[in-house]
């Protein structure tokens, strides 16, 4: 599926690994179960590792593994289910996770600015997605009326600059 980063379609070096599949040499995203249960995954040298965080788990379950992770994928079962927004915020703010946070599942372009301001950096979009629509959505409002988990320059009062590229 096309991967969106900073409003552009980019190539996706990551593959999602089934729980019973052998470890590849390239970057792979494993389930939380495998991350917790399979020590070989955690100790594999030079393997870039990501995890798919189930939507019903708090981000804190990843605390023991964060040093080992280069990516966390959060999921939207439907675009109406906003739990992943809080998971991403917790990863950035409470757990100080600095690498890629990827949104997967059912997401509307209209939500793009929300995703970015919660610290999500990449979005798995549907085939045929128009990056222009996503870019436009992200640029719609030049500022937000609240602090977010990002370091956003203050405009005035409660207003913070929203920027697509950072």
């Amino acid at each position: 599926m096309p991967l969106l980063e900073c409003g552009r379609i980019v190539s996706d070096p990551w593959q999602t690994l089934a729980d019973d599949a052998a470890l590849p040499s390239g970057p792979c995203i494993v389930s939380l179960y495998r991350l917790q249960q399979d020590e070989a995954v955690r100790t594999a040298p030079h393997l870039r590792l990501g995890v798919a965080l189930p939507v019903d788990q708090p981000a804190e379950v990843l605390a023991p593994y964060l040093d080992r992770l280069s990516l966390v994928a959060v999921n939207f079962p439907t675009f109406r289910d906003g739990r992943a927004f809080t998971q991403a915020c917790s990863l950035r703010e409470r757990l100080a996770f600095r690498h890629e946070i990827r949104a997967t599942g059912n997401i509307l372009p209209d939500q793009y600015a929300f995703l970015l301001r919660c610290g999500i950096t990449t979005v798995e979009t549907q085939d045929g997605a128009d990056p222009a629509a996503w870019q436009k959505a992200a640029h719609r409002f030049g500022f937000g009326y609240q602090p977010s988990v990002l370091e956003e320059p203050l405009v005035s009062g409660l207003r913070r600059v929203i920027a697509l590229d950072r």
Binding site: T86, C89, L108, C118, F143, Y145, S156, G157, L158, R159
Partner: protein, 561 residues
């Protein structure tokens, strides 16, 4: 829009940057509507987008709910609402228990034009529905009441801005309602909101807030638990973030009817819920979310101040008029509220005329009220959560002239807080959820108790009517609650007694089996007869109920049937 020189009184004066934001929002919605009309967006995808712009699909048409933040309107804004009623609707609007206004006959294609018209006067319909933070309600006597510690509208505006298009909290499990009171006397039903805030003085004179969470009405009425006795102002946003994070992460999403915060609080238990909130709060970087006095002051500075300079004999003048005109005296006694400034008074313009539709105002009335507000009350109008309008800053020596102008407009009914000051949802006349028509029964009760002397004899008594279990009419927290139910396709009404929305918050108890409309009205008459016969001097209805018990009333009124 209000120029930089004249700020609107009692509400936030938009700056050009805020107006640009609203115009962007209108453009965004215009595109979303176009995508829907072209089939680019499915109804399922469009629904949450239109709901976050206040647009519902009702029984006969779209309904647009326009936000009236903390219930305050400028005269220019009220005139714009009148214009919208006239051009895009059928000449009237309906003020709601959330201090908003609803237009019931809207065409989807015209909704973006209406929002553009609203944006011109600094108004919008953002987050008036959908699973997000809704309009922040406040006290209709804010900024005028004699018993107030601070004007809560400044903090309501801060919460409005903070919650507007909040990136993390725009797709919550369910809707989320705030109320804020600047007076220790709770006039906002703080314990019946997801979050209720009541201003309190701290030890060093600083103002903070008592914080309640997890209250609500609806199918599962619950009284909010107290999370903090005193939260300092600078931690307000950080603490709200903590509560919302816990709710967004753990609130149920599998069942629409179990998704509100109150259910989470009940499921976890109050201690466990409070612990989760405090743990989240402890982890939040306080500086990042700090609400510094400079931010509060900057927002407060965008609020215009009322012009208060009554002549010294204003009060004497009012007293003299009251002595000479008993009808005026009765209206002042019933419909006014003390003002903190000498020579001023606040008055309630009843939207509950005899046999009228509670909360409805015509375009003609709205225009006339806007004129009167400019002439008599610094151009400021408030919407009360009891579906009336309030002029907050009236000179006592001008009150008689105002009253004389209100009479011909049908706005001088002396019934505030009396039995005909009925709160009522739109019911089955408009709403897809309703089981029963709540407006006709409200009209019948209004007619039955229309006699002014009888209403005065009964004294303060609240009747709230909901057309279904979702409780938009707040039937649970009224002295007499009326709930519309469906009995094999027939409209029936179930009565509850002894509810209360104020400090001693209580949920009404069911009186007996549900009844058809006319019988329900007869039973209410007998409840009132019983109350009048059995009360001790000066005893309020709720106190009589508690003393005698709901069972006593049941036996008295059903036995007579």
């Amino acid at each position: 829009m209000q120029a930089e020189v004249t700020l609107p009184v009692g509400t936030y004066g938009y700056q050009p940057i805020d107006l640009a934001f609203l115009n962007n929002r209108v453009a965004q919605f215009r595109e979303q509507v176009a995508r829907r009309l072209s089939g680019d967006l499915s109804e399922d995808e469009f629904k949450p987008l239109r709901l976050m712009n206040g647009l519902y699909l009702q029984l006969h048409a779209y309904m647009l709910r326009v936000a009236v933040p903390y219930g305050v309107l400028s005269a220019a804004q009220l005139r714009r609402l009148a214009r919208i009623a006239r051009i895009y609707d059928r000449g009237y609007g309906h003020f709601t228990t959330r201090q908003n206004i609803q237009f019931n006959w809207i065409k989807l294609e015209e909704a973006p034009d209406i929002l553009a018209e609203l944006a011109e006067v600094g108004m919008h319909a953002i987050q008036t529905s959908g699973n997000c933070i809704r309009n922040i309600t406040s006290d209709e006597f804010a900024g005028a009441a004699a018993d107030e510690l601070l004007d809560p509208r400044v903090h309501a505006e801060i919460l409005r801005q903070w919650s507007t298009l909040h990136p993390e909290f725009s797709f919550l499990p369910r809707k989320f309602k705030f109320a804020i009171s600047g007076s220790p006397h709770d006039r906002v039903a703080a314990r019946f909101h997801d979050i209720g805030l009541i201003a309190k003085p701290g030890a060093d004179g600083a103002v903070g807030f008592e914080v309640f969470a997890g209250g609500g009405l609806g199918r599962t009425p619950a009284i909010g638990i107290r999370l903090r006795e005193w939260l300092p102002e600078h931690e307000l946003l950080a603490y709200m973030e903590a509560i919302l994070r816990v709710y967004n992460a753990y609130g149920r999403r599998d069942n629409l009817y179990k998704a509100r915060l109150k259910i989470l609080v009940q499921a976890l238990g109050r201690e466990a819920f409070a612990e989760k909130v405090e743990a989240e709060f402890a982890a939040i970087p306080k500086e990042h979310y700090r609400l510094g006095p400079e931010i509060v002051d900057a927002i407060r500075a965008r609020f215009g101040k009322p012009h208060l300079d009554a002549p010294v004999d204003a009060q004497a003048w009012l007293s003299d008029r009251r002595r000479r005109d008993p009808a005026f005296d009765l209206w002042v006694q019933t419909n006014s509220h003390p003002h903190h400034a000498a020579g001023y008074i606040s008055v309630v313009l009843s939207l509950k005329p005899r046999a009228g539709i509670p909360g409805d105002a015509s375009a003609m009335q709205m225009d006339a009220i806007a004129d009167l507000a400019e002439r008599f009350s610094s151009g400021e109008i408030r919407v009360s959560h009891l579906q009336n309008l309030v002029l907050g800053h009236v000179r006592q020596d001008e009150l008689y002239t105002l009253w004389q102008a209100l009479g011909p407009l049908g706005l001088a009914t002396p019934n505030r807080a009396l039995i005909t000051d009925i709160v009522c949802c739109p019911g089955l006349d408009y709403c897809t959820l309703a089981n029963a028509r709540s407006i006709p029964i409200a009209q019948r009760i209004s007619e039955r108790f229309a006699n002014v002397e009888l209403q005065q004899q009964i004294g303060p008594l609240r009747i709230n009517i909901s057309g279904c279990i979702n409780a938009c009419g707040h039937h649970h927290n009224a002295d007499i609650g009326i709930l519309g139910v469906d009995k094999k396709g027939e409209e029936f009404f179930q009565l509850t007694l002894g509810g209360c929305g104020e400090e001693d918050a209580a949920i009404g108890q069911i009186l007996g089996t549900a009844l058809p409309e006319s019988e329900a009205v007869n039973v209410i008459s007998r409840v009132i007869d019983t109350y009048l016969a059995r009360r001790v001097p000066n005893e309020r209805f709720g106190d009589t109920c508690r003393r005698l018990g709901v069972r006593f009333f049941k036996e008295a009124v059903y036995a007579a049937a």
